[in-house]
């Protein structure tokens, strides 16, 4: 088997390791594809944010780039009317229950939502949907972590990081609109088995988890 395969992204030829997910091959070559939930270490991506769609030659519908292993001769486009409308829709839904307060947000200037909005010329504030604020209490009970569930986009990055470096404190609970990242029993971080390692803060792509 060849060491690398040649693929084409947006008319550019790129070398990538066979089997690598397209999302990483693109990002490593400075081709930006919106993404929130994917992680390089994960063999089975959850593909839950639905923002990384690309158009694949020979396939009728867009495919999430985080679940698409590269193969020799693969041809994809990161933009197309179909991709753009799927991403715009997904982003609008996401922002329709995100507490938008960039001015006072720790992630301001380094926020994946701001990046996506800029890259795809989308508005942070939904245009067609009302914004629902869950109005959940902000948790500042831990020694050096503040958690605002109202800003969480449910990407799951912190849950993974917490399992790897921390105590397995964070996880998903409930479902549907009520789905949250929380602790065992839903107790504040300060009352949980959180070790304050801060691994979750480092991976949070938005301002939901912040350093005190």
């Amino acid at each position: 088997m060849a060491e690398t395969v040649t693929i084409t992204i947006d008319d550019r030829q790129i070398q990538a390791a066979p089997g690598e997910m397209l999302l990483w091959a693109a990002l490593d070559n400075d081709i930006y594809i919106p993404h929130l939930c994917a992680s390089r270490e994960e063999a089975h991506p959850t593909a839950s944010c639905r923002l990384c769609f690309v158009e694949v030659e020979g396939r009728p519908a867009p495919v999430p780039a985080c679940t698409l292993p590269v193969t020799e001769g693969l041809v994809v486009k990161t933009r197309s009317p179909q991709v753009d409308s799927l991403v715009a829709m997904g982003f609008e839904l996401l922002m329709s229950n995100h507490r938008l307060d960039c001015k006072n947000c720790s992630a301001n200037g380094n926020c994946e939502l701001q990046r996506i909005a800029k890259a795809r010329k989308l508005r942070l504030k939904p245009k067609n949907l009302p914004v629902l604020d869950k109005n959940l209490p902000v948790d500042d009970s831990a020694a050096n972590i503040v958690y605002d569930p109202n800003k969480c986009v449910l990407c799951g990055q912190c849950v993974r990081a917490c399992r790897k470096s921390g105590n397995g404190t964070l996880g998903f609970a409930r479902r549907g609109y009520l789905r949250v990242v929380t602790t065992f029993g839903g107790v504040p971080l300060g009352e949980s088995n959180c070790t304050n390692c801060g691994a979750c803060v480092k991976v949070c792509p938005v301002g939901a988890l912040a350093q005190k």
């Binding site: 399992r163 397995g168 404190t169 996880g171 609970a173 409930r174 479902r175 929380t182 602790t183 065992f184």
Partner: protein, 173 residues
């Protein structure tokens, strides 16, 4: 909701006993939780911790499962289990308002139990009496055409029943 030491002991023992008949393969996780729920009527934190240790997963994952499925309760059922029908007909005829009335009057949320263990609240799917919508089941008893004032009436009549019981018990002594 605070459980008594006795309740915790029973929950722990029941869960351990059930776990002893299952190996730690992930496919057994939900069946075990269902068994705990069947035996105890709810799945308290101590039981979740036992299950998590057995399957070698973070406790928050078991909590995630319990809160994902409607069939699980986190708190013991009350003496009167109030089940609010959330079927289509009841929904259309204001089940949400009925839910809010119960929550406000009992001062608890859906899925919770009052501190005195008299009432618990839950939502159920269509109970098959749509012509009487909105419908509430109290234990197995069907109550149709519920309004907020009827919620007050039901609670009042329960209080009367309770008082009578007490007086009766006092007379019998």
């Amino acid at each position: 909701m605070n459980l008594t030491a006795e309740e915790k002991r029973i929950a722990t023992e029941t869960t351990r006993q059930l776990l002893s008949t299952y190996n730690d393969s992930r496919g057994n996780l939900i069946p075990v939780l269902q068994q705990v729920q069947n035996k105890l009527g709810y799945v308290p934190a101590v039981a979740m911790e036992e299950v998590a240790a057995h399957f070698n997963v973070p406790a928050v994952d078991v909590y995630g499962i319990i809160t994902f499925y409607n069939q699980f309760r986190l708190t013991p059922p009350g003496k009167r289990q109030v089940k609010i029908c959330m079927g289509t007909a009841c929904h259309m005829r204001g089940a949400q308002i009925i839910q809010e009335s119960w929550e406000r009057r009992l001062n608890i949320k859906m899925g919770e139990t009052t501190e005195d263990r008299e009432y618990s609240l839950e939502r159920v799917a269509c109970v098959g009496c749509c012509t009487m919508a909105p419908v509430v089941l109290i234990n197995e008893e069907v109550h149709g055409k519920i309004t907020p004032t009827r919620v007050d009436g039901l609670i009042f009549s329960h209080q009367l029943d309770k008082q009578k019981e007490k007086e009766g018990a006092a007379r019998d002594e």
